[in-house]
């Protein structure tokens, strides 16, 4: 049986069958859902907006993954913990006391500013420390070695934060300016969702400008292109790598703040799953590519949010939302079968990955 597989055309056939099966199921499910029409329009809009908001968070975290991957070619498994640690600290030391004293609603913008500063400082601090201790000494080691230290760092920070602040769920106070909904084109949309989406767009633009236009951004790109040549050109590689880590973790820290605005509770374990999802998003978009990470995050958020209702509801599958990750990963496989380098990945796929 295996000998027959030697024929490459048989393999192509199998792959086509694979694709066809997924596509048929998806299309069939979608048509069945549309015919059955279980949801009113408001449900669809709510689901889609929730998907975009969730996708924005994934995008912000995924950018950190992709930036680090771009310069070091390593999967920074601990990235989800950078996302978690900043907002956990800010919640305990700032948001909760300020919420109790009423400061949060009296001076909302000062509060947000303070929370942002603390969150970003902590996230960046932890990222730089991790880079210095666990990654930098291993830059010349085989590629799987820093992956393992990253996993170690992930476990370490998770449990370190748990030890600091305790294992229970920490509520993040509701801010009055972000409570409730506004009506856009007749559809009620949560204010916090709007904040997340707008903030993400601004952050993406800012990052793009930074990487493309500033000198530091150029040095990061040079290091990503080729570390040795960059060093020869007089670029401080360590510094560029640190800057990249700082940038990525700052984005993750801000994603943490937005997360707290939307979901209003934080927990020491909150970083692990978004970390994996962001990694998925980065790969989906083409790892190493910043717009790819953003797009991948958005796609992933949408698949998770809309997918179960759209693809599975019509097929009569019980508890479709339980299977949202199955949908997300199946779509990932599907996309990667068509484009093995991800949606926007070009440069890296062949030579480095």
């Amino acid at each position: 049986m295996l000998r027959r597989l030697q024929d490459i055309n048989v393999l192509d056939l199998v792959l086509w069958v694979f694709r066809a099966v997924i596509i048929i199921v998806v299309v069939w499910g979608t048509i069945a859902t549309i015919i059955e029409n279980p949801y009113p329009a408001v449900t669809w809009t709510e689901t889609i907006i929730a998907g975009i908001a969730q996708g924005s968070l994934y995008a912000l975290i995924a950018i950190g993954y992709t930036l680090v991957y771009g310069v070091l070619f390593m999967i920074n498994f601990a990235h989800g913990e950078f996302f978690m640690s900043g907002i956990m600290t800010a919640t305990i030391f700032l948001a909760q006391p300020m919420g109790e004293s009423g400061f949060l609603d009296t001076y909302p913008f000062i509060s947000i500013l303070l929370i942002t500063v603390v969150t970003v400082l902590v996230s960046v601090g932890i990222a730089l420390l991790t880079e210095r201790v666990a990654y930098r000494p291993l830059r010349k080691a085989p590629r799987l070695v820093p992956l393992i230290t990253a996993i170690g760092a992930s476990f370490f920070w998770q449990n370190f934060i748990r030890g600091l602040y305790g294992s229970e769920v920490k509520p993040f106070p509701q801010m009055a300016i972000m409570a409730g909904k506004v009506s856009i084109a007749g559809f009620p949309i949560l204010k916090s969702h709007i904040v997340v989406i707008v903030a993400t767009i601004l952050m993406l633009i800012g990052l793009y400008v930074f990487v493309m236009k500033t000198k530091t951004g150029k040095s990061i790109r040079a290091v990503a292109e080729n570390k040795d040549v960059a060093a020869l050109m007089g670029i401080d590689v360590d510094r560029a790598v640190s800057t990249t880590f700082a940038l990525g973790s700052a984005m993750a820290g801000i994603a943490g703040i937005l997360y707290a605005f939307v979901f209003r509770q934080v927990h020491f374990y909150m970083g692990f799953i978004p970390g994996i999802k962001a990694f998925t998003a980065a790969v989906l978009g083409g790892i190493g590519s910043i717009p790819g990470a953003a797009l991948g995050g958005l796609f992933l958020g949408m698949f998770e949010s809309v997918g179960p209702g759209l693809f599975l509801e019509g097929l009569g599958i019980p508890a479709p939302h339980q299977l949202k990750d199955v949908i997300a990963f199946t779509m990932l496989v599907l996309i990667l079968i068509f484009r093995p380098q991800g949606i926007l990945g070009e440069r890296l796929a062949e030579e480095k990955a």
């Binding site: 709510e46 689901t47 998907g51 748990r162 909904k181 509770q265 978004p274």
Partner: protein, 400 residues
């Protein structure tokens, strides 16, 4: 070199100590599965096997605190201090088995409070029972564990409510007291929540109600809006029951208030969300929500003392609900040790079968979670499930 010195050091130490071995037991143990003996200044040792690592840490840590406070309150039994050997059940079957094997390899442990998770309870119950120990779980709720046709073992008891009891009580309350006729249930894939939701749904339909949607989320999910929107679109139901834990429960509660169509739906959850941490997590959104579970105000002053001690000792309000069940479980064990232990000079002997028999015979035991009476398969929880409502940031018992 290292190996050799290790062997030599080991041998020398053991040999020098072996010379000093002396003395023999004068007491004859007549218990069919053995006795535990504690000498003059030896503490009575009990073990806990609760989830104290990983994402469910708060559940197990809270229960362990309950056991520790029970030990503090009790002080000593017949002149012997009480010592706790805390193990981690990892909230998984393999974790439960390892913890169980560790416990039964220590002959000085007399009984176990554990496990936290039903999944860990199944293999542990087997290991512990086979070795002749007894265990009382504060938070296993799976019906299988006390079903002799399924996973029941003779050393297993629990102070937590069997899902069958609680799910049915909630359905009864919803249909007969609140008068709702349509409901939806959401679980998170945990055996506890899935079992409870399933029993609720079945009982509710049996009573004549309709379940418009029985669905699930995943542990670790944060965005519950899609699933809540689907629930809203399917009904919307008059009542939504989601017997999950604090993290997922907090998300569900807050987001349910923001999803169009669920404005008029009554929210309800189970004892996995009866805790101060859960009150804080649901915040304003949880006002008026119903919770099935034990009635902790039942015991009057005892629970208040307990809470005071808890805050003093651990610097926080209780982070979950099962500390109460764990406290009761530990006290049940203490009461039985007192009953069956035989004084022999300065030492005491505890027959393992006698302890089991005594535990199974527990009847009308006054605990924080109610009056505990064990049935023949080890279900000891007070059958009176109460329903509380969250009013002004505190639970208030409204039924029965």
């Amino acid at each position: 070199m290292l190996k050799r010195s290790f062997i030599i050091v080991g041998l020398l130490v053991i040999a020098s100590m072996a010379l000093a071995a002396c003395g023999g037991p004068t007491f004859e143990c007549e218990d069919p599965i053995g006795c535990v003996t504690y000498g003059a200044d030896e503490p009575i040792r009990i073990a806990s096997a609760l989830v104290i690592s990983g994402p469910n840490t708060d559940l197990g840590t809270d229960s362990q605190y309950g056991v520790e406070i029970a030990i503090d309150f009790k002080g000593e039994i017949m002149g012997h201090a009480i010592e706790l050997q805390a193990e981690d059940d990892g909230c998984s079957a393999e974790g439960g088995q390892s913890a169980g094997q560790k416990i039964v390899s220590d002959p000085t442990i007399v009984a176990v409070v554990g496990t936290s998770c039903s999944g860990a309870g199944v293999p542990m119950s087997e290991v512990v029972s086979e070795a002749g120990y007894a265990m009382v779980s504060p938070s296993n709720t799976s019906p299988a564990l006390t079903d002799p046709e399924s996973a029941w073992n003779p050393g297993y008891l629990r102070t937590a409510h069997n899902d069958k009891v609680q799910g049915k009580a909630m359905a009864d309350f919803a249909y007969n007291v609140l008068g709702v006729t349509s409901a939806a249930a959401i679980h998170d894939g945990d055996p506890y929540t899935e079992g409870l939701a399933a029993v609720f749904a079945a009982s509710f339909e049996e009573l004549g109600g309709t379940i418009v949607e029985f669905t699930a989320v995943n542990k670790g999910d944060t965005d519950m809006r899609p699933v809540l929107s689907a629930v809203a679109a399917a009904g919307p139901p008059e009542l939504l029951y989601y017997p999950v834990f604090t993290a997922e429960g907090g998300f569900l509660t807050k987001q349910a208030k923001e999803v169009s169509g669920l404005e008029g739906t009554v929210l309800s959850a189970a004892d996995g969300m009866i805790s101060d941490a859960a009150i804080e997590a649901v915040g304003e959104a949880g006002e008026g929500m119903y919770f099935s579970g034990p009635d902790l105000s039942f015991s009057g002053g005892l629970y208040e003392d307990f809470i005071a001690k808890y805050e003093e000792k651990y610097g926080a309000k209780p982070i979950s609900v099962f500390h109460a069940h764990a406290f009761d479980a530990a006290n049940m064990i203490f009461a039985c040790i007192e009953e069956v232990a035989m004084q022999d000079g300065d030492s005491i002997h505890i027959g393992r079968q006698a302890l089991r028999t005594c535990l199974y015979a527990t009847s009308g035991f006054e605990g924080i979670t109610g009056e505990l009476t064990c049935n023949e398969y080890g279900d000891c929880a007070d059958p009176k499930i109460s329903v509380s409502q969250l009013n002004g940031g505190a639970y208030e018992r409204i039924w029965p």
